[in-house]
């Protein structure tokens, strides 16, 4: 009986010791892991700080204005380009005349009337395009593309944008950046385009935007810091 007890206690001690040993090392492992992650986090945070500063430096309104002047020529949104009420937004015009033989019951009549009575409301999509904010009517043909400055832009991108070219140069006022800034900083703040855009136009515009965006100058912030270092 005593012997059994002794064996039991011995085993218990051994097990307890071993468990403590195991747990201690497991905890140490986890702590190491935690510290490693913390270090990484801090390193990443530092990196993010630098990148944020660099991003801010590269998206200075002044620089964006200059880039806009050179490549995009977007104009600020004029008051006449903004729709004032929901009724000003035209319905899908071409489909409309054919569709309602019996009259859609879910469209309130005054709503339809509001659309028609508003002189500002564009009746056809072609006209609707005219009220599209100039922010989206990119006119690549008008952009002076210096050969050396912008190798990425295809030589003749004009055919990809069907409609807006007609309107572009007259409306687009060089040197205005607001639309671009609005797009980049807080998209919600800039009034969203109210008029519908034909399906083909928008993707083409996007491509243009993507291509026209110049490659970020590496080390632009470096230049700033270097400048500071030199002057202090």
């Amino acid at each position: 009986m005593t012997r059994l007890g002794v064996v039991f206690w011995c085993v218990l001690v051994a097990v307890a010791g071993f468990t403590t040993f195991k747990v201690k090392y497991a905890v140490q492992d986890i702590e190491d892991q935690l510290n490693r992650v913390r270090r990484h986090t801090i390193a990443e945070q530092q990196e993010i700080r630098v990148l944020t500063a660099e991003w801010t430096y590269l998206t200075q309104p002044e620089r964006l204005a200059d880039l806009n002047r050179r490549f995009l020529q977007l104009a600020p949104i004029a008051a006449r380009q903004m729709q004032r009420t929901i009724a000003d937004i035209p319905l899908r015009a071409p489909a409309a005349p054919a569709a309602p033989p019996a009259g859609p019951p879910d469209v309130p009549p005054d709503f339809v009337a509001g659309v028609n009575s508003d002189p500002d409301a564009p009746p056809t999509p072609a006209d609707a395009l005219a009220t599209t904010p100039a922010a989206l009517t990119v006119t690549p043909a008008a952009a002076p593309s210096p050969a050396g400055a912008l190798p990425a832009v295809p030589a003749a991108p004009a055919p990809t944008v069907p409609g807006p070219t007609a309107l572009g140069p007259g409306v687009a006022k060089p040197g205005s950046l607001d639309a671009l800034v609005a797009l980049m900083v807080t998209p919600a703040a800039a009034a969203a385009p109210a008029a519908p855009i034909p399906a083909g136009a928008k993707p083409a515009t996007r491509v243009q935007l993507a291509k026209a965006g110049p490659a970020p100058t590496p080390g632009a912030l470096d230049a700033l810091i270097a400048q500071i270092a030199d002057t202090r």
């Binding site: 801090i42 530092q46 500063a53 200075q60 008051a79 703040a189 912030l221 810091i225 400048q227 202090r232």
Partner: protein
């Protein structure tokens, strides 16, 4: 016994050796043998235990060394816990989170030349990365035999990475922090700048030095970098167009008192303040750091007629239909008060304001009296420094003894100097329904409103809005019209007082207003210092031709960004809201 004898007989035995007495023979006692047995068992058990432990250790060793190729994780080189290093100064961001000021690690590179093994190789490697360095000079430093030599201060993160990659022993980095203003001069006067020891010396950096140092997160200002840029750009254009000495502008949210943009030109680059062009004289450099909005006290001229008219209307002295004689000049002492564009007839209160009649305003003020005028201006906060976050705030200048002549001149904005910040704060109260709110540079949580102080009735505020709209429709500020945004305001052109005399050619033109007038959201003040006429302005340098067109351009650009919905200005709802009854049906002469 025999054995003992044998030992004693042994001649070689040690001298003192005495063999122990012979043991008593063990008697095979049952209890004793049981005890012995127990001991034996215990010894065996212990030995077995040790054997097992050693076997385990051996197996483990064999496993680590032989089987897993020595790759088992070491518990030796433990990673020490790290406390996240807080930057010495928190970031400053605008209301949309755009960075206005940040602190970056800016390491400096130094060498311990005694540890450099191969100076030639090191020189070649370092100059390949830091191309600006002079190889000969660097080589001299590396072979100097001293224990410390700066190689380059303030490396960029990229350069630091490149140097690290070279892996040259003996090169070390000293970590330093550097304040960076990525937007440069854009909000220079608001954000301010830091000295070399990272102590704020101007602007918010100075005023909120403690907060900036202790904040765990970024400090958010009420500024909007986009609006700030537009204001900055348009004012720069005004300076260029009219070859002016300087300009300043401020835009304020009239509902909360938040300052959305504030610019004073010429300005400076906070990344290296007080330096800029080497051509600048010290006086010019000082002028750049001077914030005209908060530090410059100016006689703002006719803009004060806004406060004068509000005072007369609110106190009940005047009504919208009351007429004052504006046909005859006022003579008081050696002064004669006359109108710039006299109509030479009796004018009603809206006409006095619209045509900016000095005579009419003076008569209104005289009727109200000195005490009322003084109390009203005091209530609007125009007689004490503006309680904004800044340290750099000027006191207004006004006569200690408020005599009759002062009453007259103050009615049209002379003989009292206030900062543009004073004026816009007061104008915000005039248009927002009569509540004076402390201007602030902190972004307020959306929807929250600071407690304000009622300084005039809502009715007076409503009437003043109509009058200000009238000025843009028919008066001196017609060029401020921004279609859809219902601008209203009041111009002012004052001759600058130099050494006690008003100088005719040195003007200060300003325009203060708000939009949209049917429900004002933002107030603005633009000011240009010593503009010179140009061809487009038909030889004028007055506010109506200088800052007023700029106001129109600014509003048309910022309104979409600020979420102000354009309205149809000709719609009945708007015209009804802003119609002046007494002028209805009359033909209004334009200014």
């Amino acid at each position: 016994m025999r054995s003992l004898q044998r030992v004693e007989e042994n001649p070689c035995r040690p001298r003192h050796f005495r063999p122990p007495p012979p043991c008593t023979p063990v008697i095979a006692d049952e209890r004793a043998s049981a005890l012995l047995e127990t001991c034996r068992t215990r010894l065996v058990a212990t030995a077995a235990l040790f054997a097992v432990v050693f076997v385990v250790v051996m197996l483990r060793l064999a496993e680590i060394v032989l089987l897993s190729g020595g790759s088992a994780e070491s518990h030796v080189g433990r990673i020490r816990p790290v406390a996240p290093p807080l930057p010495m100064r928190a970031d400053i961001v605008d209301r949309n989170g755009r960075l206005l000021a940040t602190t970056l690690d800016s390491p400096s590179l130094y060498a311990d030349p005694r540890q450099i093994l191969d100076a030639d190789e090191a020189t070649r490697a370092i100059t390949s990365v830091l191309t600006q360095l002079d190889p000969a000079e660097l080589h001299a430093k590396l072979t100097s035999g001293k224990s410390f030599a700066w190689i380059k201060r303030r490396l960029t993160p990229r350069q630091q990475y490149a140097v690290n990659r070279l892996g040259i022993p003996g090169l070390q980095f000293e970590h330093e922090e550097r304040r960076i203003y990525p937007f440069g001069d854009l909000a220079a006067h608001v954000v301010g700048f830091c000295g070399i020891d990272n102590v704020g010396l101007a602007g918010i950096e100075r005023a909120l030095d403690k907060q900036v140092k202790g904040a765990p997160g970024p400090i958010q200002l009420s500024l909007d970098a986009r609006v700030q840029f537009i204001l900055h750009e348009e004012l720069t254009r005004v300076i260029a167009d009219f070859s002016a000495k300087g300009a300043a502008g401020i835009i304020m949210d009239v509902r909360t008192g938040e300052i959305v943009a504030m610019t004073s030109l010429p300005d400076f680059d906070p990344n290296h303040p007080g330096r800029g062009d080497a051509k600048l004289s010290p006086a010019e450099a000082k002028d750049r750091v001077f914030n005209k909005i908060t530090l410059g006290a100016y006689e703002l001229g006719s803009v004060f007629k806004t406060f004068n008219t509000a005072m007369a209307l609110d106190s009940g002295v005047a009504t919208m239909t009351k007429q004052y004689d504006a046909a005859h000049d006022i003579k008081i002492g050696r002064f004669t008060i006359s109108d710039y564009h006299g109509k030479h007839r009796a004018l009603s209160v809206p006409e006095i304001y619209m045509y900016s009649s000095n005579i009419g305003s003076a008569r209104m003020a005289l009727e109200a009296g000195a005490e009322r005028q003084r109390n009203f201006l005091d209530k609007l906060g125009l007689l004490k420094p503006v309680p904004i976050e800044f340290d750099e705030v000027a006191k207004p200048h006004y006569p200690r003894h408020w005599r009759e002549v002062n009453v007259i001149t103050i009615a049209y904005g002379h003989g009292i100097s206030v900062t543009p910040l004073h004026a816009i704060t007061a104008v915000s109260a005039v248009v927002n329904g009569g509540i004076l709110r402390t201007p602030t540079l902190h972004k307020l949580p959306p929807g929250s409103v600071q407690p304000g102080e009622r300084v005039m009735s809502e009715k007076t505020s409503d009437q003043m809005r109509k009058l200000m709209r009238l000025v843009v429709e028919f008066g001196t500020a017609k060029l401020a019209a921004a279609p859809g945004y219902v601008v209203g305001g009041k111009t002012g052109t004052a001759e600058k007082n130099v050494g006690g005399h008003y100088v005719e050619k040195k003007l200060l033109s300003d325009f203060v207003g708000a939009f949209p007038m049917q429900d004002p959201k933002y107030a603005f003040l633009l000011l240009v210092d010593e503009p010179h006429p140009n061809k487009q302005s038909h030889g004028y340098a007055t506010a109506g031709w200088t800052v007023v067109p700029a106001a129109s351009r600014i509003i048309q650009r910022i309104a979409p960004l600020l979420g102000v919905q354009p309205v149809d200005e000709a719609s009945p709802a708007i015209t009804r809201a802003l119609a002046v009854e007494s002028l209805q049906g009359k033909k209004i002469e334009t200014y």
